[in-house]
Structure formats: C-alpha cells, structure tokens
C-alpha cells in the first residue's frame, strides 16, 4: 500500500461533488470580496476625516 493513497487528490469526485464544490468556491469568493468592500467603506464611514490623521 503506497503512502498517501487516501489523500484528497486520489479521490475521484462525482459530477455532483465537482459542481457543488465549484459553486461553493464562487460563493465564497463573492462573499470575501463583499466583506473587503464592506470593511473598506465601513472604515471610511467610521473614521471619516480622522482617517488622514496619523501621528508622525
């Protein structure tokens, strides 16, 4: 029995599994992008003009 025989790479995914994995990946990418936008504009809204005030 070869080492690493049961790693994920050796598993043959069914079509349904491949399709759902792809859909989950896309959804996760969109959510992460949305989260970045949310934080970016949220930080600007929260800090306002203070965003430029950085002690030198």
């Amino acid at each position: 029995m070869a080492e690493g025989k049961y790693t994920q790479e050796n598993i043959e995914m069914t079509e349904a599994q491949k399709k759902s994995q792809r859909a989950r990946n896309i959804a996760l990418a969109l959510i992460l992008a949305g989260f970045v936008i949310l934080l970016y504009f949220g930080t600007q809204a929260k800090l306002g003009a203070n965003i430029l005030q950085r002690p030198l």
């Binding site: 029995m1 049961y6 995914m13 599994q17 989950r24 949220g42």
Partner: protein, 309 residues
C-alpha cells in the same frame, strides 16, 4: 470488499455536495427576515442618527448573527429534526449539509458578525449580539429545549433581542424604550409557539421535546396561552402609554391586542382536537400578523417622525 475500497468510498462520501443555497437554508431565512425587520424598527425608533453605510452594516451583522445561531441550532438539533415533520426537510436531515459543516459555518458567522459589528458600529451592540447567539445556541438549544416545558418562554429572549441590538447600535445604550420592544416579542413568543405546539403535539411527542402541552397537558397550556395573550395585549400598548409612540399607534395596538386576547380566550375555552385545532391555528396565524403589524406601525411612525421632525 477490501479495506482500501471501503476507505476510498467513505472518503469520497465525505466530500460535500452542498450548494451555497443549502448553507443559506441553515440560517433559517424566515427567522432572519423577522430579525432584520425588528432590528431595523429598533434602529428607526432610537434617537439620533447613524451613517447609512454603518446602519446597513449593523443590520447585516445582526441578521448574520441570527443566521449563525440558526445554523448552530440545526447542527445540535439534527437528531430530532430528522424525526419531526416540520423540520425533516432541513439541510442536515436530508443530507445536503453535514453536521460538522453546519457547526463550522455557524461558529465562523458568529465570530465575523460580532467582531465586525463591534469594530465598525459599537461594542455594546456587538456584546448583545454575542450574548443573543450564545443564549439561543447554548441556553435554549442545548439546555432548555430538551429539559423544561418553559423552554420557549425563557428561550424567547433570544428572539426578543434584535430591536434592543438595533437600538444599541444607534445610541450605544439600553433604555426603557428598547426594553419595552424586547418585552413585546418576549411575551408574544409563548402564545405563538404554544398555539403551534397544540396542533403539532404528536410531532414534539415523537421527538421527546418537552413542550408545554406534552408535559402539563392541553388544558393547562390553553390557560397559560390565554394569560400570556393578555400580557401581549397590554405590552403592545405600552409604547403609547410611556410616550415614545403616538396615541394613533396606541389605538391601533389596543385593537390588535384585544383581538389577540379574544383569540387566546377562544383557545382557552373552545380549543379542541375535535374541531381540528381550528382556534389554535387561528391564534398562531394571527400572532404572526400581530407582531408584524405592531412593528410595522412603530417603524412607520418612526419614519414619519424623522421626516417631519
């Protein structure tokens, strides 16, 4: 069949076939809509203002926090969800989502929603959101639900927190006004769920969930439903009595409350399995309309006040 082939087969089975929509179902969307609505009304009624983007973030975090507690509830309750008619089609019982996925999903959403709310809005609302998730997932789901017929009475607090969180997001405070909004939902929960439990008696019995009708009997539940209906009717009017809603709202709430009490009375006096639990079903249906109408009225009035004042 060799050990190798069994292992490969098992590993392949472990690979999820869940679609994004299945995760969305884990968040109990209908409960989430109610949470969004009541939290939004809490924000509208609170004094002061908030940057619209931060207001949107607050609502989003509160609704995702609610969704997280829904996912944690579905993870823990998957055993009884499988045997109850009302819940047998949820993502875990039908095999769309695995239990460990639901747990991870719930914990991640909880953490992200609380931290984001804290960093971008304020830490009081974030703390309240964290407490609400803990209360629903741990106190209600893991402890009360399967151990006492008072489960939904105490557990109802989790559903009552959203307007308080919304208020806290706007003002950074908890005041008598937000406590009244809490009380309306808190007292509304028992008659709403007991009406459901009366006509879904067998479902809860099979799952061995100690709902009031199964433990103390139908007669006692009906009486308690009526008593709580009176409490709901009175509490619904309190915003006008205290003075943070108008007399027009007061009259509206009085009418709705009177009808709630009347339906509760009918459940107490005439509710029966013989007529197919018609009165219980009527109260259950009206209870949903009641809560929606009360908060819609409060929200509409708050919008008008903001536009005029």
């Amino acid at each position: 069949m060799t050990v190798e082939s069994i292992r490969e087969e098992d590993t392949a089975k472990l690979m999820s076939t869940a679609m994004p929509g299945d995760y969305y179902k884990l968040m109990k969307p209908r409960v989430m809509y109610l949470v969004i609505f009541t939290a939004f009304v809490g924000m509208l009624m609170a004094p002061g203002s908030i940057d619209p983007w931060l207001g949107f973030i607050a609502i989003l975090c509160i609704s995702i926090g609610a969704g997280a507690s829904g996912a944690l509830n579905m993870w823990y309750d998957s055993d009884i969800d499988r045997i109850m008619k009302r819940t047998e089609k949820r993502p875990i019982p039908v095999g769309q989502v695995q239990e460990s996925e639901a747990l991870t999903f719930g914990l991640l959403l909880s953490a992200f929603s609380v931290v984001t709310l804290g960093l971008l809005v304020n830490w009081l609302s974030a703390g309240l959101l964290a407490f609400t998730i803990f209360f629903y997932a741990v106190i209600y789901t893991m402890w009360l639900k399967r151990s006492t017929p008072q489960n939904i009475v105490i557990g109802g607090a989790a559903g009552a927190f959203p307007p308080v969180i919304g208020w806290a997001a706007m003002t950074g405070t908890i005041t008598i006004e937000s406590i009244v909004l809490f009380a309306i939902i808190f007292l509304w929960t028992p008659p709403h769920f007991w009406a459901l439990a009366l006509f879904r008696l067998k479902d809860y019995e099979v799952a061995e969930v100690p709902m009031m009708p199964n433990v103390q009997g139908e007669a006692s539940t009906r009486l308690q439903t009526f008593v709580y209906s009176i409490a709901v009717g009175i509490t619904g009017v309190l915003p006008a009595v205290i003075g943070f809603a108008s007399l027009v709202y007061g009259a509206f709430a009085l009418g709705l409350g009177a009808w709630f009490i009347w339906l509760g009375y009918k459940v107490w006096k005439k509710g029966s399995a013989e007529n197919g639990y018609a009165h219980e079903k009527k109260l259950f249906g009206f209870s949903i309309i009641y809560l929606f109408a009360i908060f819609a009225a409060l929200g509409t009035e708050a919008i008008i006040m903001r536009l005029v004042g």
